[in-house]
Each structure stands twice: as C-alpha cells, then as structure tokens.
Symmetry: C2
Subunit: 590 residues, 2 copies
C-alpha cells in the first residue's frame, strides 16, 4: 500500500513567503481567498485526496477500465471517489460563482492539481479535462450553451473531453478529416473518427461533453481550416443519444484507470464554439493551463514516488556507513547512510521542489494574465508564452527521472508491484507525450516563443531575473546561488542568439537544438527558483526564525547547484553542435 501526505509546508512557503500570493489574490479581486482560506482549503483538499482518491489508485492500475459493448466501466471505487468530490463542490473550485463555483485563483488550482495527480492521476485527468471544457465554453460559447452546460460541467456532474487526434493525425492536426455540416437550426452535424480520447467514454457521470475539432465544408486547407464544436454524448432535454459510439479502448503501459478511447461521431449534433476556422487558436488558448497541468503530472507522481521510496530507505538496512558503524545495536545501518542513496533521494527532492516553485510562479502569472491591469497582463502573457512549453517538457522529463530514481533506490522492491512505486514509473511515462510531445514543446519555445514580437517575451523574463541577481550581488551568503545562476543566464542569452541567428538561415539548426535548448532554459528557470527560495530562507534565518525547514531548503539548493545545473554545460555544447550530423545521416542507413 502506498502512502501520501500533501506537501503543505512547502506550499505555505511558496505561497506566503516566496510569491506573496495573498497580495496577488487581493489585488486581482479574489476577495474570499485570504491566507486562512487558502491554507485551510489546501489542507482539506490534501486530506480528501489522501483519504478518498489514493485508496483507489492501485485498484485503478490493477483492474483498469473495462470495455464492453461500447460502454466503459471505471475501476472499483472510482465512481464513489468522483461523487464524493463532486458533492463537496471541489471540482468547481476554479469556476465562476454564477456557475456554482468558488472562483479560486489559478495558483491555488495548480496546487490542487498536484495533490490530485499524486493521489490518483487517472481521476485527476478527468477533472482537468472538465475544467478545460468549462473554460472554452464559458469564454467562447454562446449563451444558450453556457446556460445548458456550464454549471454541470463545472461541478463534475457532467464530464468533458478534448477530441483532437485522429488515426492519421496527431501532432499534425491540419490533416484531420472529421467533417462538420451546418444544420438549419444553427447547430452542426459531425461525422468522423477520433482516437486517443482520454475519458471519451466512462460511467463517472451522466453525460460527457466533447470538444471536437472538425472541418467545415468550405474550410481552408491545413490547420487554418479547423473549427471547434461542442458535442454532447446525450443531447439536452431529449435525454437522447447523439450518434457517438466508443469502439474500443487502448491497452496501455500505465494509467490503466484512465480509458483512452476510439470515438466515432456519426451525424452527431454539435454547436460551434467561437468563430469558424478558429479551432486551433482556441485550442492553444486552453493549452496554457493544460500544459502547466501536464507539467505538474511529473511533479505529482514524482512527489508520491519520492515519499514512498523514502519510507523504504528509512527502514531498509544494508551495509554500513563507510566512515564507521552508525547503529551499533543493529546488524546493518539504514541505506540512508550511503552517499549514493542520498544523492538519488535528494535529486528527486530537488526535482520536485524546483518544479513546484516554477509551477506556483506560473500559476500566479496565469492569474495576472486573466485579471491583472494592462501592464501586468502584458508582462504575464509574455512570461507564460515562454514558461508554458518549458514546464510541460521539463516537468514531465524530470517526473520520469524522479520515478526512475525511486525504483532504483528501492532495488528489487522498486520493480515489484507490491510496493506500488513501479506504477508511478509507468503512469508518468505518458506525460512527455501528450498535450504535445516534449519535442513539440521545445520547437514551440525555440521556434516561436523566443522570436515572437521581436524577442519581447525573453526581455520580459530577463529583466526581473537580472534585477534579482543585481539585488543580491553584494550578499556573500547568496554568491553560491547567484554566481551559477548568472552564468546560466548569460549562457542562455548566448545560446538564444545562436539559435536565432543560425535558425534564420536554416530551420534545421534550430530544430536540432530545440530539445537541449529547452532543457537548458528550464534548468536556468529552476536555478532562478532555487536562488529565490534560498533568499527567502536566508532572510527567515536572519530574522531569527527557528525552523529546520529553512536549513533543509538551503541544503537542497546546494544539491540543485551541485547535481543538476552542471548538466547545462553539456546541453549548450549539444545545441552548438548544430544539425549536420543529424540531417546528413542517410535515410537508408538508419
């Protein structure tokens, strides 16, 4: 049996000491979200996840989803866990008050995501999709659609999906074939086949509201000719089926509790969302939150994997401390005495806490983007443009690494199903693939976000970063953090210049280096987060606050700068190596 305790202390630190979120929530009109509310709600949510979602997670993996005659039965316990959460009003946390919601800030919703993923990633995905549908619907849907669907989708009583991929069109959505034909009453008739549709069919809710990409008859070629439609499993009022059938679910390596469906639309009735042919840009709008949520999958699974592998290391006794016996009365010391075990554990912990800080920062920026004044909106939009692909790719890559380390410190037990950690290793592996593969994220960063608006995004990022370095220049206690941070920032600037200059002449150069560039970029952002966390911790200690939390945070910052940031040197060399060794390799010799 796995255990999980929500990392509340770390969020108290990030929310109230590093990012001062109550200043943000107050300024942005999240009036009910004062510190007490935030802390209490987060604790309650963590407890709900621990007591109701977590106990179903291993069953989700073991029994999986069952497909029979077009219907999908979710694993034992899932429906109860879902209903309990719906009843508590939790799914509507980020929804508007008029739709029964609590209008929580997005940084808070982001923390909620982390806990949900740790407790049961399969269920958390259903909830994230519901929020995605809700956002699109309420931002771009017509009033009658909002009236019919918004409250039910917000609450979780009706679930949602995103129907993008088709058998021949995944990354390249311009090639989709699903057709939408206009009907007399203003609705549309959709026909086509979608695959890899997460939660496309299940028994958690009475209805499922699909957001479907399709092409109108007169649509332009490629991705500019895609429109977005809302297509419900059951039509409103009539309680009638809508020509949508699920013809199967995929057998997958992990995430067995999440049905991955093939969905057939056969003259299914739907309604246009937003303008005709604007489907791709609407999707991308929604992607900001979804990609952050996907990045948090790496963290959510990394955190629960860390906690459980740590429990093993504290109990397991093998060998002796190399500097002499530690526990004389035992036949062996715990494996926590071994430097290599500590290296693995602390790397996991540093991965988790770094991504948590970055995710929280991005959460606050999403709030600024949605509710801030013009200046902070522009600033936040620029930062989010850059940081979204970074956290999606880096968060999921680090999540995979963390879950792998969790197996490794446990040895054979890590590989055995009984201990539960191997499930996290399998579950997390989808995260670098979906919501746009990490290669696509890297291309988005290097090929679009960097050059957008003549490089304004990057200038918006660099300005506060350089200011932070400047502010801390004269503090000797900060030098161990700001010096490598500064170096990394300078390196990033040089690499960016190289990418832009060479990439202009040859997009292959840019695409060949994009992944390593993206990782370099992400490591630099983590270095910034660690330096900021170190600053706050040093201040707390200087103020005489006695709390070992700050000492541990400072030590972990050391771990980051010693064990993770040094990868950047190699990454830079790989970007500089260019593309020729890749592109000149003859196709026949692969």
């Amino acid at each position: 049996m796995v255990r999980y305790d929500a990392p509340l202390r770390d969020y108290t630190f990030l929310f109230h000491e590093v990012f001062q979120v109550t200043d943000i929530s107050e300024r942005l009109g999240y009036e009910d979200w004062d510190r007490d509310t935030i802390d209490m709600m987060l604790e309650e949510w963590g407890e709900l996840m621990r007591t109701t979602w977590l106990p179903t997670n291993m069953d989700g993996d073991k029994f999986g989803c069952i497909y029979e005659n077009g219907q999908v039965t979710m694993p034992p316990g899932f429906k109860d866990a879902w209903d309990l959460t719906t009843a508590g009003g939790w799914f509507a946390a980020a929804a508007k008050v008029e739709h029964g919601g609590m209008e929580c800030p997005l940084f808070f919703r982001n923390a909620m995501d982390e806990f949900a993923i740790s407790a049961n990633m399969a269920l958390s995905v259903v909830s994230a999709l519901g929020l995605g549908v809700y956002d699109l619907l309420t931002t771009h849907g017509e009033a009658h659609l909002i009236d019919t669907y918004a409250e039910k989708v917000a609450s979780g009583r009706w679930c949602g999906t995103m129907c993008l991929t088709e058998p021949h069109a995944g990354t390249d959505l311009g090639m989709i074939r699903t057709k939408a034909v206009s009907l007399d009453d203003g609705s549309y008739s959709l026909t086509g086949t979608k695959m890899f549709i997460t939660s496309g069919e299940h028994d958690l809710s009475d209805n499922i509201i699909h957001m479907v990409l399709a092409k109108l008859p007169d649509a332009p070629e490629g991705s500019r000719g895609i429109s977005l439609f809302l297509v419900p499993k059951y039509l409103p009022d009539e309680d009638n089926v809508n020509g949508i059938s699920c013809s199967g679910i995929e057998e997958k390596m992990g995430l067995h509790g999440s049905p991955t469906c093939v969905l057939n639309f056969d003259a299914s009735v739907g309604w246009l969302i937003g303008e005709a042919n604007s489907g791709m840009s609407l999707m991308f709008e929604m992607m900001n939150r979804e990609r952050l949520a996907t990045g948090m999958m790496g963290l959510g699974l990394g955190e629960v994997a860390y906690q459980n592998s740590l429990d093993w290391c504290v109990e397991r006794r093998q060998g002796r401390d190399l500097r002499g016996v530690k526990d004389l009365h035992e036949k062996a010391d715990t494996i926590l005495v071994h430097p290599d075990v500590r290296r693995m554990l602390l790397k996991m912990k540093a991965n988790n806490e770094g991504i948590r800080a970055l995710g929280t920062w991005i959460g606050t920026l999403l709030d600024e983007m949605h509710r801030g004044d013009e200046e902070s909106k522009v600033h936040a939009t620029a930062l989010i443009a850059l940081l979204t692909p970074v956290i999606k790719a880096l968060g999921t890559d680090l999540g995979c690494e963390t879950c792998s380390l969790a197996i490794q410190v446990m040895g054979g037990a890590g590989y055995c199903s009984e201990y539960g950690v191997e499930q996290f290793y399998r579950d997390v592996r989808i995260a670098p693939i979906w919501e746009g593969t990490n290669g696509i994220q890297a291309l988005d960063l290097a090929g679009r976000k960097i050059t957008q608006d003549f490089g304004r995004n990057l200038r918006s990022l660099m300005w506060p970063l350089v200011e932070f370095i400047e502010e801390n220049r004269d503090d000797p206690a900060m030098a161990r953090y700001t010096k490598p941070l500064h170096q990394s920032v300078r390196g990033l600037q040089q690499l960016t210049l190289l990418m832009v200059a060479e990439g202009m002449g040859n997009p292959h150069f840019l695409a060949a280096g994009a992944t390593d560039y993206c990782t370099y970029f992400g490591n630099t952002m983590l270095a910034y987060m660690w330096a900021r966390m170190a600053r706050v911790s040093l201040d707390a200690k200087a103020a005489g606050i006695e709390d070992s939390f700050y000492d541990a945070k400072l030590r972990l910052a050391d771990v980051f700068f010693a064990e993770i940031l040094p990868d950047n040197v190699g990454l830079a060399a790989k970007v500089q190596a260019g593309h020729k060794h890749l592109m000149k390799f003859p196709e026949a010799s692969f």
Copy 2:
C-alpha cells in the same frame, strides 16, 4: 507484432574488422572457430531467435508465469522454444566438448546473448543462469558433481539458478541466514529462505540446479563466512524431491515471462562448491560474465526497441520538412524529416552500436583471460576488472534511455501495448538493479578496481588508449574523434586522481561521486570505441571499398561525439562537487 533482425553486419564489422577475432580464436586454441564458422553460426542463431523465440515474447508479457500450488507454469510457447534450442545444441555453445559443448569463444557467446535478449529476454535469462552454474560447477566442483550435472546443465535439459538474496539481505549478503550443516556422506543439509530467485521454479526442464549461498555453523561473521553449495531440485538417481518449495512469485513491472521466486530450503541436500567460506569470491568470479551479460540486456532490448520504433518513423507521416515539402504527392512527410526525431533515433543507434563494440571488446578480453599466455592474461584481467562494472552500469542505463526514446519517437503509439515497444521499456528497467545495482557497480569501480594493485588496472587501460591516440595524431581525418577522446582521457585521469586523493581521507567523497565517475569512465570507453570504429571505416574507404556501411558508421561517430560525449563536462563537475551537500542534509528533513 514486433519484428527483429539480428545486427549481423555490425558484428561482421566488429569481429573481423575492428577486433580481428579470428586471430584471437586461432591463437587461443578455438580451432574450429574460423571466420566462416563464426559468421554462419551467428546467422543461424539470429534466425533461430527471430523465428522461435521472438514470437513467444509478447505472450510471455501478456500471460506471464502462473504460480499454483508450489508450481510455476511458463507462458505459452516457452517450453517449445526452449526444447527446440536444446535440441539444436545451442545452449552448450560455450561448454566444453567433453560435456557435449562446442567450446565457442566468449566474444561469440556474448553476441549470442545479445540476440537472445532482443528476441526474448525472459528466456535468455534462464540460459545465462545455466551457463553460470555450469562455469562454477566445472571450475570448482568435485568430479562426482561434474559427472552428474555438467552435461545436462550445459545442454539446457537441466536449468540452473543463483540463490543469493534473502528477504533482509540483498546488496549486503553478509547478513544471510541460510544455514548449511555437514552430513556424514560429505554432503550438506541446507535450511533457509531465498527471495528474488530468477527461474527458481518452472516447467522448462526436468530438474533445476540451484547454486546457493549459505553459512556453515562455524563460519566467520559477515561476507567472509559465506559458502557456496550446489542444491538440486531433484536428487540424482533417486529422482526424489529435495525439500525445496516455491512459496510464490513476484508480480513485477516487466519481465513477466521470468518467474521471480521465493524458495524455501528445508533440510535440502547439497554439496559444497570450492572451499568453505569462499562463496563470495566464487560468486564474484562468476560475476564477470554475468555482469557483461546484464550490460548486454540494455543493448539487446535497446536494439529491438530501436528497430521497431524506426519502422514507425519510416511509415508515420506528420508535418513537413522545415526546409520545404519532401513528398509532394503525400499529405505530409515521414517524421524522419524532423531533426528532433532523427536526434532521438540516432542517439538510440549510437548507444546501441557503442555498447556493442564495448561488449565485443570485453568478450575478447574474457577469452584472453581464460586462455591467453601469462602476459595477455594479466593484461586482460586488469582491463576486465575495470570494464565489467562499467559495461554493467552504462549498458543498462543506456538501455533504459534507448527504450524510453523508442517510446518517445512513437508518441501515443509508443505508450500502447499493441505496438510492443512499451514492453521493452518495462523489461529493461530491471537491468540497472540486478547483478548488483548500478550504484554498487560504480562503488566497485571507484572504490576497488581503480586502486587495486596500486592502480595497475588503470595503467593497463591507459597504455593502449594513449598509444591509439598517438598513432592517429597526424591524421587530420581522425582529429574530430581523437581530440575529444584525448580530452576525455585527460579528464578521466584528473578525476581519478581527485577520487583517489580525496577518497583516501574521506570515503564519502568517493562514494558520492562514484556513479557520475562511472558514467564518465564509460563515456570515455565509448569514445575510444567510436574512434577505433572510425579508424577502421576510414581505412576501408581509403582502400576503395564501396559500402555505405562505413559512411553511416562515420556519421554515427559524429553523433556520439556531438550528442553523448558532451555530458562528461557536467559529470566531472558533479564528481568535483564532492559529498558535503549530500551528507549534511539532516535525516529528519528528507
């Protein structure tokens, strides 16, 4: 359905062009193993693996091993595949002629291992264990044991196991509790419980011969008090059971076709192998080959994963070449036009071909160690001392990376069971754990092999390496390989000095850096392999041989030096960072 083609061309290159194996086999008295025999046998073995083992591999994963009432039934098709291989005499390839074997060179057996692992890792493990038992038995067993067991174990008609781990004693075998008591007839009575025993019980063979670590009543404490015993499932002649019961098999993340057993020995009759209390050193003797074989697991699975993900990339069409449409008549280009896809595929290919070269080299060194004259024996022994932990750790780490990249290039399909590649990702993950975790390999290298005999091992390695660099100094075509190789070698020397100097005063320093040091070491060995392969390829081209194989090899060498070797800079920095950030982290704050 997965496909597999044995990499015969690459072995022809390594065997006959890089390592000149027929010179070795002739000199060492492997008289029947001329070039034609080697090539023909290897082709036949590859074909057998492809046609008989591979088709059972997915069923092995899907149906797994079934445990019922103390008995284990292997997956469908396994017994037939095993019997066919036994009937062909293949398992006895490396056994002595007097035991029905073919006395093949060990570099050949190593190549056999790779193919077997690619085709069906679960079956390959049974075969590897049989060879391990055979080696121990024939080298250290008494004549009556050899007479009874050697031929049958060699042939595969009887299988074998290694029984080391106990519930509380894995890495730290000094703590085992299994007891052996001397009986009047020279045999022993063994009692105890062993766990994680691969193929401890199954229905492939009539008998299973266990090699069991146990303690004699008067044995010294710890690992110096361990003895090795041969304990058969059925006693000879009497065809009688021997008090060994299997009380369960583990549910594991992968390798479902391989039963991982809990075995109880209850006054089971066994015979001492070698001297009393020499069990650990006998085990380590056997480990050289087993650890090489485990390193090859990374390669075997990496190779079959590469082949199948490549097939996907050649067929799958998404997006367009960034420099302009490639296939005008198609709606999209194959994803092989994308630099990032090529980067992933070529990294996989470079990982595989580098480890294959290193494994082949070590295979030839094992032959030299067993059959060479005194000088080459001493030299080979020194090199193997160093290279064994390196190939075990690096080969399995790279295998995990390669299988992960195979999933990534396939996107969602990589994560779905239907395409078969996700199985390799799960199967390969055990390899960094067993036969001594990779952390233990790194400690073995850094803490023992480097300093052994006042550093003689390392001198033995450096001498030919530096000579190779020297020889190629004046060839401008080789500079792109020898320059970074030279740099890496110099870096390795400096890191080694640091490890030894600091490690003398503080073993924590050495242990904290061991894993990164080991990877650095391994990358340097790969650089040496790639430089040697480049040398041979350049010579072939200079000799006017028209074969695109050499061009591809040279391009792939470029990929290694551009995409893999640059990691060394970061690794060195991590070693230099020492241990304090790890050891000072307070236990309560983990």
